[in-house]
């Protein structure tokens, strides 16, 4: 599903990815960890085709990103720090819009909202009024309604309450079972390590040698 060799990505002139190697198979759940500024977000965005790879190999979902970085986009789902929602529209309007935009049907939007607990009072509230966690849930609902093949989750647990975290874990496991591939970054290792099949530690824009799943592998 994902195959990177020496992938370099520049943000401005700064090499945020300085030669990353990464291989992820179908149905795997991979955890990216690493210090602040290690390049986790940049890596996820690069895999989504949003940050161009300027050197090395990068093949995602069978597409060579250096040749064509657009055609993977509709097939991935990225949960980013920016919510990607229209503040002035209601929760329901937002989820429906992004669902339809991804070519899915309205029923998917409804079930996604129900899954994330957004179907009651909240569905008519403007997104701009929501609490942090509620916004995050709305972004997640938009993501799952798209049914992506590759899930790229940037700190998916952040901002969610206990119940929300459980929902996320469940969603991730269900998606993996259904054949999707999941790459997530996290600083909440306790929770994320349980969820992940593999752990990759980033540091200084490269994947550091790691002791594999479940291993400690902490880098100072």
């Amino acid at each position: 599903m994902v195959h990177l060799r020496g992938a370099v990505a520049l943000l401005g002139r700064f090499p945020a990815l300085a030669g990353v190697d990464l291989d992820v198979d179908r149905r795997r759940i991979v955890l990216l960890r690493g210090a602040n500024g290690a390049g986790k977000t940049t890596l996820l965005r690069a895999l989504a085709g949003l940050v161009p790879i300027s050197a090395g190999e990068a093949i995602v979902l069978g597409v060579d990103l250096r040749v064509d970085h657009k055609s993977v986009r509709p097939r991935v789902g990225l949960l980013a720090h920016g919510a990607g929602l229209y503040d002035e529209l209601s929760v329901a309007d937002n989820v429906r819009f992004w669902t339809l935009a991804a070519g899915a049907v309205l029923a998917d939007a409804e079930s996604a909202m129900a899954r994330l607990g957004l179907d009651g009072r909240l569905s008519d509230v403007s997104v701009g009024r929501l609490s942090t966690g509620q916004r995050r849930r709305t972004s997640l609902a938009c993501l799952i309604a798209r049914r992506p093949e590759l899930w790229l989750l940037d700190e998916p647990h952040a901002g969610l309450d206990k119940e929300g975290r459980d929902v996320v874990d469940e969603l991730v496991r269900d998606a993996a079972d259904a054949g999707a591939t999941i790459i997530l970054s996290s600083h909440e290792l306790d929770r994320a390590i349980d969820l992940a099949d593999e752990i990759v530690t980033l540091g200084g824009g490269v994947a550091l040698d790691d002791s594999g799943a479940g291993g400690d592998g902490h880098v100072a």
Partner: protein, 222 residues
């Protein structure tokens, strides 16, 4: 592509209906631009009498700029640009959708402003036809070019200042054309106006094509 355009246009118009920015603020702003010029260009010199069509279109242009700013401010929210890129919506569809929603807002504005001008000047039937055609074609020209340049400025932090800079010179020919056509209609010589309408149609057509093909690459950078 048309399906995508419709989705985007509907979303934008729903946003407008919920926030009423165009109605409550852009329309008064257009009136304001008109009146301001009256102040600056001293009435007793008789400058204004002749200049009304030009002023009308300047007012439309500046208000259109505001509508465009708003249209792209909406898409500049945290993460929305990325979400659009990932969405799978055809860039050409997004372009057409945003063009459509801006055009609808501009048309409402122009009709509100224009009825006044037309009544005040009392024009003939053929004059009316030309006025209408000018409005439709000029709106198409403004919104097609505006949306294309809007995306160039979108996503940049300096959006608010860059867009006018890019857009106003590009739209100068439309300003002239629409003004001349209006003058022709109001002075009872519509035959002089129609060539301008034709010219603006060509302008709009060029920008639609440019937009359909250029919007994708332009959405990329930022």
């Amino acid at each position: 592509m048309l399906h995508d355009a419709w989705l985007i246009a509907r979303k934008d118009l729903k946003l407008e209906i919920r926030s009423r920015v165009a109605l409550n603020q852009v329309v008064p702003f257009a009136l304001l631009v008109l009146v301001l010029f009256a102040f600056a260009l001293d009435p007793d010199r008789g400058l204004l009498e002749k200049a009304t069509p030009g002023l009308y279109w300047i007012a439309v242009l500046f208000s259109g700029l505001l509508a465009m700013q708003r249209s792209f401010a909406v898409e500049a929210a945290d993460g929305v640009t990325d979400a659009l890129r990932l969405s799978g919506l055809a860039p050409a569809g997004i372009y057409l959708g945003k063009t459509l929603s801006v055009a609808v807002q501009l048309l409402v504005l122009e009709v509100l402003l224009g009825v006044g001008v037309a009544v005040l000047y009392g024009t003939s039937m053929t004059g009316w036809l030309l006025l209408l055609a000018t409005i439709v074609v000029a709106t198409a020209a403004i919104s097609t070019a505006g949306t294309l340049f809007g995306v160039v400025a979108a996503g940049l932090r300096v959006r608010e200042t860059l867009l006018p800079l890019l857009l106003l010179p590009v739209l100068a020919p439309v300003l002239i054309g629409a003004t001349r056509a209006f003058e022709a209609a109001l002075s009872g010589t519509p035959s002089e106006g129609w060539p301008w309408v034709g010219l603006m149609s060509v302008f709009a057509a060029v920008y639609v094509v440019a937009g359909i093909f250029g919007f994708g690459p332009l959405m990329e950078e930022s």
